[in-house]
């Protein structure tokens, strides 16, 4: 808990900066990240041409580019950039909300068992030879099943307290992780095994407009729900008893938050596999900037999460001819950044 507390230490000074200026800076960062991501890739297209292709969709222009250029920008990179931004924003927002509800800065969206569940669903679909929408549907459904299991098991005498929830999440997560291992054990080493392994590590390489269309409703609905509940989450972050004393149906509200997180996480895992670290690290960075109030934290986390995943995905798809799994990069960047953030927060705390 102490970590949550320290972050607010800066609130008065930060408020000296006008709100709109901060919002503008974060939005600008996101826009720059998105445009940069759109302009780089293995297929060589000059940045001004890339942007011209994009603009040609809204304004009449003379096309001085090839059909392939246009397809790469509009069919490959645009949906991929949007999908990466969407998932990054969604995962970061889920992390921020969960860390608030659990009053614990070490909580990440994986904690509710949704990611391992969705991972199992996806792996099962791949090993049965399905791809595309069947894979997405299976991942989503299994993620929801995992959450429902956690909910049912954690509920004792009509209530589920925090420790029980986290432990149950760990147990169900381990169960589904074991099922994933079982699938890997059973998978054909020539075909489905490498596909499962790569999918589990996370990637946006299969991004299409159709996939974006599948993921977007889930992620957007979840994010919108969390945004509307921003003040509720603030109150929930006071702790269960305080919130109940303020007349809130804590149990119900918490499950609404979890449902929103499951929606986001299930949709993200379904289209991009398991992308770790974003939901854990990004909210910490956002808290350093704006403090713990979800009303500021959620939008800033969303923008930072989107920018971060855009950066990571750009690296993943263009650093080498081979696709680097996202999970590898998010962990390679996330772990040291997280360590640095923790140290900085601790130092601030000691300096109080």
């Amino acid at each position: 808990m102490s970590l949550l507390a320290t972050a607010s230490g800066d609130t008065p000074q930060k408020r000296a900066l006008p709100r709109w200026a901060g919002a503008l800076a974060v939005l600008a960062l996101l826009l720059v990240a998105a445009l940069t991501a759109l302009c780089i890739g293995r297929f060589q297209i000059a940045p001004q041409r890339a942007i011209a292709i994009l603009l040609s969709r809204v304004a009449p222009m003379t096309a001085d580019w090839s059909a392939m250029d246009e397809r790469i920008i509009l069919l490959v990179r645009a949906p991929r950039v949007l999908l990466a931004a969407l998932c990054g924003a969604g995962l970061a927002v889920s992390g921020a909300a969960l860390q608030g509800v659990f009053r614990n800065p070490l909580v990440a969206p994986q904690i509710l068992g949704v990611s391992p569940g969705a991972a199992f669903g996806g792996a099962l679909a791949i090993s049965l030879g399905f791809s595309g929408f069947a894979l997405i549907g299976a991942a989503f459904a299994a993620g929801a099943v995992a959450l429902a299991l956690v909910g049912a098991l954690a509920r004792v005498e009509g209530r589920s307290d925090t420790v029980m929830l986290v432990l149950t999440g760990v147990v169900i997560g381990a169960l589904f992780a074991a099922l994933v291992s079982l699938l890997q054990f059973l998978a054909d080493p020539n075909s489905s095994l490498p596909a499962i392994v790569f999918w589990l590590m996370g990637s946006f390489s299969a991004a299409t407009w159709a996939r974006l269309g599948i993921a977007a409703p889930g992620v957007l609905a979840g994010v919108a729900m969390l945004w509307f509940m921003r003040f509720r989450i603030n109150v929930l972050s006071l702790g269960e008893e305080e919130a109940r004393a303020l007349g809130l149906p804590v149990e119900r509200d918490r499950w609404l938050v979890f449902a929103a997180v499951a929606l986001i996480e299930g949709a993200a895992v379904a289209v991009a596999g398991v992308v770790g670290w974003v939901g854990l690290v990004v909210p910490h960075a956002a808290r350093l900037l704006v403090g713990c109030d979800q009303r500021a934290l959620l939008p800033v986390s969303a923008a930072l999460g989107a920018s971060y995943l855009l950066l990571v995905d750009s690296l993943a798809r263009s650093a080498t001819a081979a696709e680097i799994p996202l999970g590898v990069i998010t962990a390679l960047i996330g772990a040291p950044v997280f360590a640095a953030l923790l140290r900085q927060m601790r130092r601030k705390e000691l300096a109080r």
Binding site: M1, S2, L4, A5, T6, A7, S8, G9, T11, P12, R15, R103, F228, M229, R230, F231, R232, N234, V235, L238, E241, E242, A243, R244, A245, L246, G247, L248, D253, L256, G291, C292, D293, R295, R352
Partner: protein, 251 residues
């Protein structure tokens, strides 16, 4: 307004208290006294609706202005944001506080004399200041019933006095029924109209504070000799207080 009717609460199979009945009206203060472990906190939480009753019933408005005993230094928000959370219930699931809510929160801070704290981070306040702010939050709920669990237990003498002053000020306005638990009979004598003594799981007495806090009752309650004294102070009205006769304080 707020009260209990033949109420009892259990932990496991053990009864914490049984058969407590009272009714508190607006403009009145009830203090709850008892030694450690006698169930003061359980009673307070039962009144706040946080602990289910095993017997009897609770009569209370839908929201209670509740101030818990253990409010940590870990609430990472601005004071105004903390106080405005008192409005949460009325805002609905998807609501966020607006100008009217902020005004109510500021009014509450005004009432407890903490208007200046509004922009400060809550976790940087002293324990006494936090307690005052939480009282403001309880007021901001708009509930006519305030329930406080040992609000003064962590405070130094000056802050104790400040809190008691605020409580009597709130009482004077006549819109709230106030109920608090305390370890110090002096607090009860200072502000409360009525007192509830938790003598045993099934034994308690309730009545006007001055009558019920007799030397006999207090000695029985705490298991040590206690004296009621009236002190004259120059230029002030005489005040009544209680002196526990601790061991070994020979001059």
């Amino acid at each position: 307004m707020i009260g209990l009717e033949k109420a009892g609460a259990q932990r496991g199979r053990r009864w914490i208290f049984t058969d407590i009945s009272f009714m508190l009206e607006a403009g009145r203060i009830l203090s709850v006294l008892g030694p450690n472990g006698r169930g003061k906190t359980t009673l307070i939480k039962a009144l706040a609706g946080l602990v289910p009753l095993a017997a009897g019933r609770r009569i209370a408005p839908s929201v209670i202005g509740y101030v818990s005993q253990s409010v940590g230094a870990d609430i990472p928000y601005r004071v105004l944001d903390v106080v405005v959370m008192g409005r949460a219930r009325g805002l609905g699931l998807f609501g966020a506080p607006g100008a009217a809510d902020n005004r109510a929160a500021l009014d509450a801070l005004e009432l407890v004399g903490a208007r200046d704290f509004a922009e400060r981070p809550f976790d940087r306040l002293s324990g006494g200041e936090r307690q005052i702010v939480l009282l403001a939050r309880a007021l901001a709920t708009g509930s006519p019933a305030l329930v406080l669990d040992e609000p003064a237990s962590a405070l130094d003498l000056a802050n104790q006095n400040r809190l008691l002053t605020v409580l009597s000020e709130v009482k004077r306005q006549g819109r709230h029924a106030i109920l608090f638990s305390t370890h110090l009979p002096q607090h009860a004598l200072s502000v409360s109209d009525d007192s509830l003594l938790m003598l045993g799981p099934s034994e308690h007495s309730i009545g006007p504070t001055r009558a019920i806090l007799s030397e006999g009752n207090l000695t029985r309650l705490y298991g040590l000799p206690v004296r009621r004294v009236t002190l004259e102070d120059e230029g002030r009205a005489p005040i009544e207080t209680v002196v526990p006769l601790f061991a070994g304080a020979a001059p």
